[in-house]
């Protein structure tokens, strides 16, 4: 059981969280090519090691950025997405 840090609620058990998406992924639109759309729907980078991902804390409902290591399961940091936009 991993402990994940929600930027709003602090450390909680992983069962309270759900994976959202890999960070940096752009939603396709009606004008996307079939290939772009398939990439958006089905293809993941799934990197080994350092990852940047969007997770949601189901208890507070907030989506946030989570930087972690997919090999060691180390959690590096998590932060509010909107704050990042302001940077």
């Amino acid at each position: 059981m991993q402990l994940i840090s929600c930027p709003f609620c602090g450390l909680r058990d992983e069962t309270e969280f759900r994976f959202g998406a890999e960070a940096g992924k752009r939603r396709g639109t009606a004008s996307s090519s079939a290939e772009e759309w398939a990439n958006y729907l089905y293809f993941q980078g799934n990197p080994k090691g350092q990852t940047r991902e969007i997770w949601v804390h189901l208890a507070c409902g907030e989506f946030f950025m989570l930087e972690r290591d997919s090999m060691t399961h180390e959690i590096h940091q998590s932060y509010c997405i909107r704050k990042e936009d302001q940077k």
Binding site: M1, Q2, G20
Partner: protein, 902 residues
């Protein structure tokens, strides 16, 4: 034999009666099953797994490979209990496993004579033809350990305890207690978990001086000190696994037949002080009863006063056995120490030991010590890497793992000097590596000959280390032999992977309270008692326990609702509020149809798609006012719809301009449906005009009921005039009784979900997930408008325009009619056609009922190009039987909607 002057763990004034394989025996309070059997002079305690060789007790802890028993008392029973960790109690019945009729006279014992014909891989190679399944039942009956009592159920359930501490010490021996003591003095919160019945580890039976005092005095003082500092100590508790971020799971045995407690302990630091396990020496017939771990023999002598032999031979590759020889001499046993053992005589118990010079030494016990294997399981589970140490003849923890420290014998600090003395070559007589799974040196040699190199493959091919003891005593001897046989170093050969649990852990521990109703808890309606009083039969639908029917005649129930009025509990229907200036825009984006053009007070039916274009849910959205909508999605999709709305809100919109609130659990909804539903509703004091002009189909109004709000929506799932009335949960009972009072003079009834399913199918209304599947897009259901007309972006839009989405052969929603007098098509029947003589499916029946309104069967289905094939006849197949059905429009009654718009 029990010596009067020994035994710190037993109370000689309290005898306990028990039986072993039906034979009456006596032990003492404080005994384990193993110590009591040794005291009673029982030598053969079980049979080996494959060859049914007689086996005696080897060790004294959870590593024990041989002493596995079926223990019972009254109706309580535990299969495969380890005799070394099971405490004796009055009246306990102990039975050997894998032996028939008993351990000392086992019918299958003759297997051993044929051993040379059943080497490693024998079953894999022999029973391939014609088919393993044929042989499996009989082979299974012959092999295996205890049997499960299928009738027995526990009186209590495993407690689940969550806990935290700064430092968790695993193992209450010398090193563990010292580490705990230091941490506690530093002001840290400390917990200790230990497998033993009492804390102390080797301090309980080894004599040595620690910090100038005797081991027992040091132990006593330290335990008092720890208690004074509030250090929590769990005994008979096995830390069986380490999980992410320093979560340690511990199974704490509760004694008797009570299930263990399961502890989940989160800690900043784990101290591994788990000690080391003594290894056997590998020599011919080293599995004979009476060959035993030397340290364990000392343990039984000092703790239980049990002297395992009168004429004792000791063989060892280290200097730990000097003390043991002296202790047995003090206990008036004849002790001979030998350098090596060539063979052992005596089938059901040692009679003589043949030493390296070939001399035969009369003996009734052979105590061996082949070195020590550090118990590094938890370190390895936590991604620790081992390193081979020649001077320790053991794998030791390598680089430290963050948040974990390995101390004492587990880190190689044995206090003894071990010289590696390994059996090099397999001889004529078998020498055992794995006692529990009957793996011999010969089997390893065969695996090496057949070119097995990886230890993981050797393990699975020979079954070395795959028994319930997971090779705690055997793995190292096995891989050392493998290294020699394949000409590699031990470090190169490496170890197999360590995985939890460290010891077999009762499934009850994991189940905890999740059994019976709590295995998969249902959600319950506020009105459940009222439904029950009215005779409802309940069934689970999408996680909710709902009335399926009120009595046995579902057909009559449906018909009455068509003719008069039915009251249906629709409380689980979604009630998700979407609020704010961007609420309309969010709902437009989320939905297949446009929502923002809806006028306040009106309802709109529509779909939500996945990004793949597949229909996710259907439902009705109400606009309360300019900035407020209520999404009434289907009951089983409430959580999912709420989550996707929240995700799109945060991803695509300004969250300060739209807010989502799931109010589903706060409202009860009762639907009245049927031609007399308006009459029924007029009897209720809702403060509303509900005539056709004031409240047409797909409109809703806010009224009041008994001093609270009431939402009345004209929406229909039956095809008849219907009203959904939603009130706060606190008014649900009042509303239910008011409706029932009003319905009785109208000839109304309560309507269960099964009858409602018939009504909706007659009208051709679909249920998502039943009449659609993972390939169904909205245009397959006849809803093409938004795809063709919408120019703005919405979820799943792009996917509706792929080649596949626009393909010709899509499965489309149809109605299916059968010939007069025929029975209903079975749901799931496949429509079939023959192409080049081969059968292929063209779709299937999704819903099928006998219609009480039409007095004939009706069905819905998904059929290739179905929409354009009305009137065609399709062959259907179900369980080998073929039927015919005609494709018709999916709406069977009132296609003009005259029953709705009244």
């Amino acid at each position: 034999m029990r010596l009067a002057s020994f035994g710190t763990a037993v109370d000689s004034t309290k005898p306990l009666n028990f039986t072993f394989d039906g034979m009456a025996c006596q032990g003492l309070a404080g005994d384990t099953v193993a110590s009591a059997l040794l005291a009673a002079g029982v030598r053969v305690v079980g049979r080996s797994f494959k060859y049914h060789r007689p086996r005696g007790i080897w060790g004294h802890g959870s590593e024990e490979p041989n002493a596995i028993f079926d223990v019972s008392c009254g109706i309580d029973r535990e299969p495969n209990a380890r005799g070394t960790t099971t405490q004796l109690s009055e009246g306990l019945r102990v039975r050997s496993v894998n032996a028939s009729p008993n351990a000392s006279r086992d019918t299958y014992g003759l297997f051993d004579a044929f051993a040379r014909f059943i080497p490693a891989g024998f079953y894999y190679k022999t029973f391939m033809w014609p088919d393993w399944q044929r042989f499996e039942p009989r082979i299974r009956a012959m092999a295996g350990l205890g049997c499960i009592d299928k009738v027995w159920s526990p009186k209590s359930f495993s407690r689940q305890v969550n806990s935290t501490c700064d430092v968790l010490v695993v193992g209450a021996g010398r090193s563990g207690l010292a580490a705990a003591s230091r941490a506690a003095k530093d002001g840290k919160s400390v917990m200790i978990v230990d497998e033993g019945i009492e804390p102390g580890g080797t301090l309980l039976y080894r004599s040595r001086l620690i910090e100038g005092v005797s081991a027992s005095d040091w132990l006593c003082e330290t335990l008092i000190e720890l208690e004074r500092r509030d250090v929590r100590m769990l005994s008979r508790a096995t830390a069986y696994g380490v999980y992410d971020h320093n979560l340690v799971c511990v199974s704490e045995l509760k004694g008797g037949f009570a299930p263990p407690d399961l502890w989940r302990i989160r800690t900043s630091e784990i101290v591994i002080a788990t000690g080391a396990i003594e290894r056997p020496l590998v020599f011919p017939n080293n599995d004979r009863p009476g060959v035993m771990s030397a340290a364990s023999a000392l343990f039984y002598l000092r703790r239980y006063g049990v002297r395992v032999g009168e004429r004792v031979v000791i063989a060892s590759n280290n200097d730990s056995t000097g003390e043991i020889a002296n202790a047995f001499r003090d206990a008036e046993a004849k002790v001979i120490e030998v350098a090596a053992v060539k063979d052992v005589k005596g089938r059901h118990g040692i009679e003589a030991v043949i030493d390296s010079e070939g001399r035969s030494i009369a003996a009734d016990a052979l105590l061996v010590s082949g070195g020590f294997t550090p118990t590094v399981h938890l370190y390895c589970q936590n991604k620790g890497r081992l390193r081979w140490s020649e001077s320790h003849a053991a794998f030791l923890p390598g680089k430290p793992v963050e948040g974990m420290r390995v101390v004492g014998s587990a880190a190689g600090d044995f206090g003894w000097t071990v010289s590696a003395a390994w059996a090099a070559k397999p001889g004529k007589t078998r020498a055992w590596i794995d006692f529990q799974n009957d793996v011999t040196l010969k089997d390893l040699a065969q695996a090496a000959r057949e070119n097995y190199r990886s230890v993981e493959h050797v393990k699975r091919y020979t079954t070395l280390g795959m028994a319930t003891d997971q090779g705690k005593t055997s793995n190292l001897n096995g891989l050392v032999a493998m290294a020699a046989l394949t000409g590699r170093s031990i470090a190169e050969t490496g170890t197999t992977t360590y995985r939890p649990p460290y010891t077999p852990t009762s499934l009850m521990a994991f189940t905890g309270v999740r059994h019976g109703e709590l295995f998969n808890p249902v959600r319950r309606l506020a009105l459940e008692p009222e439904h029950r009083a009215a005779g409802a039969v309940f069934r689970e639908y999408g996680g909710w326990l709902r009335p399926a029917a009120y009595g046995s005649d579902i057909q009559a129930e449906a018909l009455r609702a068509r003719e008069t009025v039915g009251i249906f509990d629709g409380s689980p229907l979604g009630k998700i509020d979407v609020i704010g200036p961007d609420a309309g825009a969010l709902l437009d984006f989320n939905s297949y149809g446009t929502i923002s053009t809806l006028r306040p007070g009106r309802l709109r039916y529509g779909f939500m798609l996945q990004e793949t274009g597949i229909v996710y849910d259907d439902g009705v959205i109400a606009r309360v006012d300019e900035y407020r909508f209520v999404v009434s999605c289907s009951s089983s999709h409430v959580q999912g719809v709420y989550q996707r709305l929240e995700e799109w809100r945060q991803d695509q919109f300004d969250p300060s301009r739209v807010y989502i609130h799931n109010a589903t659990p706060r409202w009860a909804t009762l639907t009245v449906t049927g031609p007399r539903s308006r009459q029924l509703l007029k009897e209720l004091d809702l403060g509303l005009d509900i005539g056709l002009a004031e409240l047409p189909h797909m409109a809703f109004v806010l009224g009041s009921f008994e001093g609270g709000p009431a939402r009345v929506a004209r929406v229909s799932f039956s095809g008849d005039l219907s009203f959904e009335v939603s009130v706060p949960l606190s008014k649900a009972v009042l509303l239910f009784h008011a409706m029932r009072r009003a319905s009785t003079p109208l000839g109304g009834i309560l309507l269960g979900l099964e009858a409602m399913m018939i009504l909706r199918a007659e009208k051709g209304y679909i249920v998502i997930g039943k009449d659609t599947d993972g390939l169904t897009m909205p245009h397959d259901l006849g809803h093409t408008g938004p795809r063709d007309k919408r120019t703005d972006e919405f979820v799943g839009r792009r996917a509706l325009f792929t080649d596949w989405a626009m393909g010709r052969d899509r499965r489309q929603l149809v109605g299916l009619a059968v010939a007069e007098g025929e029975a209903a098509l079975p749901t799931g029947s496949h429509g079939i056609e023959r192409v080049n003589g081969k059968l292929r499916s063209v779709g299937y029946v999704t819903s099928s009922y006998f219609s009480p309104t039409l007095r004939r069967p009706i069905a819905l289905g998904l059929i290739e190009r179905g929409a354009a094939r009305q009137g065609d006849t399709v062959k259907f197949q179900y369980l080998g039987r073929e039927r015919e059905a005609t494709i018709v429009a999916p709406c069977f009654i009132d296609p003009e909607g005259t029953r709705l718009h009244v």
